[in-house]
Structure formats: structure tokens, C-alpha cells
């Protein structure tokens, strides 16, 4: 035991010494971006621009690369509005923008439309940008948020802000990760059927419709996996004699899907 005591003490001391190093370094916590709905009704142009500034260094993670370290052009060091017009007229420009606003928006959604020399992906000869599209994961900015950043970039150099202040929330179902008003989760199969309007085309519950095949006896005709498959990808297999018009349900949750699939699998009796 004596032989062990000293090495053990030495090892514990060394472990604690390593821990001590973490105490002398700056303490920062990296919060996950908050999914906040932007209340466009309350927005003023100033608060809209402030939102853009906030997103630029926050959720948008723009400053991760666009800084003085040279990973990407530091947008805060030059007049972005003026430079964007020069780039539109550059022979290397591949996009469709006509003005500063559309160029800035395009550069966030299709970063490879114009790649600043020296900042392209390795081996792409500056034709491909390493920047991710900001409306895609992992950044996932909404349309309102992208517009706010464009407004901020225009304003920071004293240029005229041409971005229109958003007037209303985007329509339901429109791709907008933050501002989209999601319908509530259905709690029963009946609610799922009502929520997604199944009865508009199919005979189910007490509703009759001949546009699509009746679902009252679907449990007898199809296996549970086939029912699930026909909801996930309605066009994969079309029932004989019916038109291929059933839409996809991208907003259907997994639990809603499983709820309605289970319910339909139990429908084995043709009702009058």
C-alpha cells in the first residue's frame, strides 16, 4: 500500500492541476439558438435592423467566418452595398440579382453564385463557396430573419435600406422555420383525419366521398405497412380506377401518422 500511496497522490494532484487550467480560462456558455417567433406586427424598421444585427452575430453564425481572421471577407470592413453592385457586373458572377438587396439575399441562399477570389473551396478555383445556405440546416434562418440581416448590412454603411418591412406572418405551410404558425398536434385519429382533410376525398367515419377509395374497409385490403407507405408517399402506388391526386403531408408528425395508421388498419367493415 505504501508503494501505491505516493503515485496515487501524484496522479490525483496532476488530474486536479489539469482541472485548474480550466478555471483560469474565460468562461463562456454556448446556448442553443432560441426558436423565437418574430412578431412582425410589432416590428419597426429600427427594431428590424437591430434584429438583423443580432442574427448576424448570433443565430446566423455569420461572424464565425466573416471576421478579421481571413476565413471569409470581413463584411464589417467595407461598404457591402457598393461592393455588391461591383460583383453583379463581374464576369465571374453566376447569379440573377439586379440590385444590392437581391444580391445580398442571393449570396446567403446560393453562396456559390459569386465566390470572392481566394475564398472558394479548396480545389474549386473559386467557383464553389464553402459557405452553407443559411435557410438550410444547421443555420435554418427564416425569410424574415434573412431579410433582417440584409437590412442590417445595408444600414451599417449608411446605405438606403430597400428591404420592405414584413407586414404579416407567412402563410401556413410556407417554409419558415421560425415564424411559421404550426397547427396544434392532433390527439386522436379522428382529429388527424379532420386536420388533414382525409374525408374530403375518402369515405371514412361518417363521411362519404368517391374521389378516393373508401377507407372504411382499408384494414381488410391493405397491410399496416402498406397503409403507412401510402400516406408517406401517396404516389408510390395508385389504387386502380382513382386519379393520382392525393397530396403529401409534410407537416404530419410521426405520432399523428402512427395514430391514424393504427386506426385505419382496424377499419375492416365496409359501411353503407
Amino acid at each position: 500500500m505504501k508503494a501505491l500511496a505516493k503515485p496515487l497522490g501524484f496522479s490525483v494532484a496532476l488530474i486536479l492541476a489539469f482541472a485548474a487550467v480550466t478555471y483560469v480560462l474565460p468562461q463562456m456558455k454556448g446556448e442553443a439558438p432560441e426558436e423565437k417567433a418574430v412578431d412582425v406586427g410589432e416590428l419597426t424598421m429600427d427594431s428590424f435592423i437591430a434584429l438583423g444585427e443580432n442574427l448576424y452575430s448570433g443565430k446566423g453564425t455569420c461572424t464565425l467566418c466573416h471576421n478579421q481572421l481571413g476565413r471569409a471577407p470581413d463584411l464589417l470592413t467595407f461598404n457591402v452595398g457598393k461592393v455588391s453592385l461591383e460583383r453583379i457586373s463581374d464576369s465571374r458572377y453566376q447569379g440573377k440579382a439586379k440590385d444590392s438587396e437581391s444580391y445580398l439575399r442571393e449570396s446567403m441562399l446560393q453562396p456559390s453564385a459569386y465566390v470572392v477570389k481566394g475564398f472558394g473551396k479548396k480545389g474549386s478555383n473559386d467557383t464553389e463557396s464553402p459557405m452553407p445556405a443559411v435557410d438550410q440546416a444547421p443555420i435554418q434562418l427564416s425569410e424574415v430573419e434573412i431579410s433582417a440581416i440584409v437590412a442590417y448590412l445595408q444600414k451599417k454603411d449608411g446605405n438606403a435600406v430597400t428591404v420592405a418591412l414584413p407586414k404579416a406572418a407567412p402563410a401556413a405551410g410556407k417554409k419558415d422555420g421560425v415564424a411559421e404558425a404550426k397547427p396544434p398536434q392532433a390527439q386522436s385519429p379522428e382529429e388527424v383525419i379532420a386536420k388533414f382533410g382525409c374525408a374530403a376525398c375518402h369515405s371514412i367515419l361518417k363521411t362519404q366521398s368517391a374521389i378516393g377509395p373508401s377507407l372504411n374497409d382499408v384494414g381488410k385490403r391493405l397491410k399496416i405497412d402498406q397503409i403507412r407507405a401510402s400516406i408517406i408517399d401517396p404516389k408510390a402506388e395508385i389504387a386502380k380506377g382513382f386519379p393520382p391526386i392525393m397530396p403529401d403531408f409534410p407537416t404530419m408528425t410521426v405520432s399523428e401518422l402512427e395514430m391514424v395508421v393504427k386506426f385505419l388498419a382496424q377499419q375492416t367493415t365496409a359501411q353503407p
Binding site: 508503494a3 489539469f18 482541472a19 456558455k29
Partner: protein
């Protein structure tokens, strides 16, 4: 040569056996229909065939989008879910690393013993395996606890992972069974299969054990890399659309495989080195001291040898992370996680200093070591300067007054030392000079006799000077006087320069040692203090592994599976450095406790109780006789 020990035709097949087995295991993945049929792209290939239709329905059914759990969907049992999974996962990884790595170098040592007819190697290899065997049961226990914890705390995530990997997890389970069977036969059959042709059977078992172990490693790695850089899925929804091979073979899989393979060997070598050091300090006789000194030296040799190429493997992994997502790469190296690399610098420098110190003190084992002692102080200076440059942060949080005094956010002299080019210079010089220590140690017990020794030494010195100058020039010129693209490119020159030193050193020494006179080596003639280097190594390795594992995992930020499945749990944030430090420290201490238990068990197995004495002062055995 003993004809009983060497049969070329049969031995030709021996190395092929593990490869064949891995191939069978790989193919058996294809026998699981749900795995193969998970892909809608398979449907495209199958066209409208009957089988294609069946596959289509099945694949569509399985192509559910990635779950989107809400915060309230995460079960809570009143303790931090993340902390529980963090601790258990890291402990499983520690013991898994040990269990998979030890048989790799044990097999090499066993083969050396067999080829040289030296039983000491065989005994040492067997003793190493004793440590690994106890660790195996603990690995399995932590693995089971990890799986249960994940299913308990993150059910939606595990549902998605099971959907993606399907019956591959059963292949993993089968491999685990195979590993267990082979491990027990390999260990307990050691003495029964010790000599002659039977030894070949034992070596083949060892090879099979390592083949299965390495396959286990790469299978498990695919889960981690899928979470970081998912492949075989629909990027918009996360729906699984690829087959199991496409899911496994993400862009980070092979870099992580290589990195973990090397790191495991270095880690395993360090842990068994601590075992040898413990036994050395507790040894009662010179013979015991000599044995455990030699065992400790061998362990250190393994650990440092595997450690030297690790930065290159790490560079490849990081380069692939940048290629996959620049944002992810910058988050790790230049964002909130970048501070952790300051701690990494402290840990790696501790490893290098401990490894070098052990080599320097080891020169006392032979009289020839005196010839090279004068060089040690210069190597130490390079290592200490390298350490200081490496830990210099680019900037720290200043007060307004301090910024005014500095004239900016960065210190005018120390600021340039805080960026990667300076650190690369420091790291590569430290590696080059660590190799110099190793080379001097190897030369310590030899008197070179070849006629061209002066030319050979001159050539080696020139290679050291040119390589060091190259590392410094590439770092300074490309790092400070060109743009970012070239900065990264300079690392390649530095890597090549370092590798040239190592390869040239090994080749030149091998040629120069031909016909060299060997001086006696007095094993056991080292100071007790030198053994503390063997404790510092595993402590630093353990802390480092836990830290780097945390960084690798944290680059996903608030995603369970990057870009396709968000982590909405209450603990989806990146904690402060103190919290990370506390967690890693706690885990390392826990590992230390378990390692002590393993050492104790390994020691216990060799302890025999003395039979109790009878009335006449004779033992029971003597009485019976």
C-alpha cells in the same frame, strides 16, 4: 531453424484467416433484409421488378423523417441526463480502448518472443493480457449501462439511430460474443498453446481476436461519425434512404477509425506502463525490479510510438471536418470550443515531457548513455519553449484599460504566437526533438562500428537541421505572409518534414547498428522518480481522451444528428470550461479508481495463501506428506 516451428505453406494462410472472417461478417450485414432494403435508392436500382415493388413498399415505410422531439418529450429522473450519459459513455470508451488496444501490442510482443525464443517476452505479453481481461468485463458492464441510459433518457434519438443502423447492431452483438470467446481462449489457452506448432494456433487466435476487436471498433465508430456527419439520409427530412454501407461510410468514418486506432494503442500502452511502474515500486527483489523496469520501458515505447503519428491522424480528421462543414471546423478550432485546445496543449506537452523524461532517466541503465547526456538540456529547452508557445492564447478577456495599454485586442508580441502557424511550429519541433530523445536512447547501449559512421551521423544532423528549418520557415512564411488557404497548406510541408526525420532516423540507425557492439543494460537500475513519468502518461492520456471526446461530440452543438435531428433537451447547450473541466476530472478520477481495482485484481490472481500451520509447527501440506 526448427522445422516443427515453420511450415511456409500453412503459415501463408494464417494471416488470411482474420481477413476472411471480417469479410464474412461484412457480408453477413447483407443478409439482413431490413438493413439493405431500407433505401429508396435501392428501389431505383430495382426498377419495376416484383422484388423491387416489395422492397419499395418496405423502404417507403421505413423512410420516416427524423423525429423532432419537444423538450417535454425527454424523460427526466431528477438527475442530469447528459451527465449520466457523458460519464458512462466515457468510461465505456476508456475501457473499450484498453481492451481493444492491449491485444494488438500483446500479439506483437508474443510474436517477438516466439521468433527470438525469449520467454521473457511471452511472460510479459501474458501479464499485459491479465490487465486487459479484467478490463473486458468492466467494458461490457459500462456498455450495457450506456445503452440502457440512452434508451431511458433519449428514446427518440435511439429510435432514429436504430432505424438508421437496423440490424447492424446485431452484427455488433455477434462480434462482441466472438470477441469474448476469442479473448478467453487466447488468455486461458496461453500456457496450453505455448510451444511448437501450438504456438502458431495461439498466434492465429490472437490475430483473430484483433481482427474482431478492430471490426468492433470501426462499427461503433460509424455511430459517432453518423451523428457528426450523417450520410445515407435525406438531408431535408433525415429519412433513412441509404443502405447500411452508405450510412456507415460517412466522410469522417475513416479518419476517426485511424485516429482512435492509434490513440487506443497509445492509451493502452500508457495504462499498462502504469501497472509496470506500480509493480516496480512495490518490487522486493532486484529480479522483480528488472522485470517491471523492462515492462515499463516496453509500455512507454509502445505509448510514445503510437502517440507520435497521432497529430497527423488528428490533422486528417480535422481537415475532413472542415471539408464536410467549415462551420463545424471553425466552431471547434476558432469558436467557443477553441479554448479547450489550450488545455489540450497542456496535456500533450505533459505527455511529451513525461515521455522524454522517462527516456532521459532510462539512459542511466547503460554506461553508454553518458555520451549523449549533454544533449538533453537542449532538447528540454526546445520542449519547454514549444510548450509555452502552444499554450499562449490568441487573446484573453481584457479590461478597457488593458486594451488601451496594449493598443488593441491582441498583445503585440504574444498575439502572433496565439494563432495556429506558431502552434504548428511548436508542435512539430516538439515531435522532432522527442524523436531525437528516442534515437539517443536507442543508441545509448550501442557502440557503432560501421566505417561510414561519421558520414551517417553527419547526414542525420543535416536532416534534423533542414527539417527544423523547414518547419519554421513554412510556419512563418505561409502562416503570416500569405492568406488562409496557404496557411493550411503549410501544415503538409511540416508533416512531411517531421515524417522524413522519423523515417530517415529509423533507416539510418538500422543500417548503422549492423555489427554494432552492444553494451550491457542494467534493467532495474533506474530511479524511483523515473516511474512517476509512467503515471503521468496515463493520467494525461485519460484526461486528454475525455477532453477530445467531449470536443468531438460538442461540435454537433444542439443537434443529436447534425443538421437532421435537433437536440431539444434541457441540456442542449455547450457548458462552460469549468463545467467541462469538472466533468472530465470526475470521469478521470473514476477511471483511476477502476484501474486501481483492475491492478489489485491482477495482483490478487498471482497471490497464494500460505497453508495454515498445524500444532507441530508444520503446515497442513507437510503434515499430510
Amino acid at each position: 531453424m526448427n522445422p516443427l516451428r515453420y511450415r511456409p505453406v500453412r503459415s501463408m494462410w494464417r494471416p488470411l484467416l482474420p481477413a476472411l472472417m471480417v469479410a464474412v461478417i461484412g457480408l453477413s450485414g447483407g443478409a439482413f433484409p431490413s438493413v439493405v432494403a431500407a433505401a429508396s435508392h435501392v428501389v431505383e436500382q430495382q426498377g419495376a421488378s416484383v422484388r423491387g415493388d416489395e422492397v419499395k413498399k418496405e423502404s417507403v415505410a421505413e423512410s420516416l423523417p427524423a423525429p423532432k422531439p419537444k423538450r417535454s418529450d425527454y424523460p427526466s429522473i431528477g438527475v442530469s441526463s447528459r451527465a449520466v450519459v457523458w460519464v458512462v459513455a466515457q468510461m465505456h470508451l476508456f475501457f473499450g480502448a484498453l481492451v481493444l488496444a492491449v491485444p494488438i501490442f500483446v500479439l506483437v510482443i508474443e510474436l517477438i518472443g516466439f521468433k527470438t525464443n525469449d520467454d521473457r517476452f511471452d511472460d510479459m505479453a501474458h501479464e499485459f493480457m491479465k490487465v486487459s481481461l479484467t478490463a473486458y468485463a468492466i467494458t461490457a458492464l459500462f456498455g450495457g449501462t450506456l445503452a440502457l441510459s440512452l434508451f431511458l433518457f433519449y428514446p427518440h434519438f435511439m429510435t432514429y439511430m436504430m432505424r438508421a443502423f437496423g440490424s447492424q447492431v446485431l452484427v455488433y452483438a455477434v462480434l462482441f460474443f466472438l470477441e469474448s470467446i476469442l479473448l478467453y481462449i487466447y488468455y486461458y489457452g496461453w500456457n496450453a498453446l505455448r510451444y511448437g506448432n501450438r504456438k502458431w494456433v495461439h498466434l492465429t487466435l490472437g490475430l483473430l481476436l484483433n481482427a474482431v476487436g478492430t471490426t468492433l471498433l470501426v462499427v461503433a465508430n460509424s455511430w459517432s461519425t453518423f451523428m457528426m456527419a450523417p450520410s445515407g439520409i435525406d438531408p431535408a427530412t433525415g429519412a433513412v434512404i441509404g443502405n447500411i454501407w452508405e450510412i456507415m461510410k460517412g466522410p469522417l468514418w475513416n479518419p476517426l477509425n485511424l485516429h482512435r486506432f492509434l490513440a487506443n494503442i497509445a492509451f493502452g500502452g500508457a495504462v499498462v506502463g502504469a501497472y509496470a511502474a506500480f509493480k516496480f515500486l512495490a518490487a522486493k527483489t532486484p529480479a522483480e525490479k528488472a522485470h517491471y523496469d523492462w515492462m515499463g520501458y516496453t509500455s512507454n515505447f509502445i505509448a510514445i510510438l503510437a502517440f507520435l503519428p497521432l497529430p497527423f491522424a488528428g490533422y486528417w480528421l480535422m481537415a475532413e471536418i472542415y471539408a464536410y462543414s467549415q462551420q463545424m471546423g471553425i466552431l471547434a478550432m476558432g469558436g467557443i470550443l477553441a479554448w479547450l485546445f489550450v488545455i489540450q496543449a497542456v496535456l500533450i506537452c505533459t505527455i511529451l515531457l513525461a515521455g522524454n523524461y522517462y527516456l532521459w532517466t532510462g539512459m542511466a541503465r547503460t554506461e553508454g548513455g553518458e555520451r549523449y547526456r549533454w544533449q538533453i538540456k537542449y532538447i528540454a529547452v526546445v520542449l519547454v519553449f514549444g510548450f509555452l508557445v502552444w499554450v499562449t492564447p490568441h487573446n484573453v478577456i481584457y479590461t478597457g484599460g488593458e486594451i488601451a495599454k496594449l493598443g488593441g485586442g491582441n498583445h503585440p508580441i504574444l498575439g502572433p504566437l496565439g494563432i495556429m502557424p506558431a502552434k504548428n511550429i511548436a508542435v512539430f519541433l516538439m515531435l522532432i526533438f522527442t524523436f531525437l530523445s528516442f534515437q539517443l536512447y536507442r543508441r545509448a547501449d550501442k557502440v557503432i562500428t560501421v566505417a561510414w559512421q561519421d558520414w551517417g551521423n553527419a547526414l542525420m544532423i543535416v536532416i534534423y537541421i533542414v527539417a527544423s528549418a523547414n518547419v519554421i520557415f513554412a510556419g512563418v512564411y505561409y502562416g503570416y505572409f500569405t492568406n488562409t488557404v496557404y496557411k493550411v497548406g503549410s501544415s503538409v510541408i511540416q508533416v512531411v518534414s517531421t515524417v522524413v526525420v522519423i523515417v530517415a532516423g529509423v533507416v539510418i540507425d538500422t543500417l548503422m547498428f549492423k555489427g554494432a557492439k552492444t553494451l550491457p543494460v542494467y534493467w532495474g537500475k533506474v530511479s524511483d522518480r523515473s516511474q512517476y513519468a509512467l503515471f503521468a502518461l496515463p493520467v494525461a492520456f485519460t484526461w486528454l481522451m475525455a477532453l477530445m471526446g467531449y470536443i468531438r461530440s460538442s461540435v454537433r452543438t444542439h443537434w443529436h444528428v447534425y443538421t437532421v435531428m435537433k437536440d431539444n433537451s434541457p441540456e442542449n447547450f455547450i457548458p462552460t470550461l469549468q463545467t467541462v473541466g469538472n466533468m472530465v476530472t470526475g470521469i478521470t478520477l473514476l477511471f483511476l479508481i477502476f484501474v486501481l481495482f483492475i491492478f489489485w485484481i491482477a495482483n490478487l490472481s498471482g497471490t497464494k495463501q500460505i497453508p495454515p500451520a498445524t500444532d507441530g509447527g508444520l503446515t497442513a501440506a507437510e503434515n499430510t506428506a
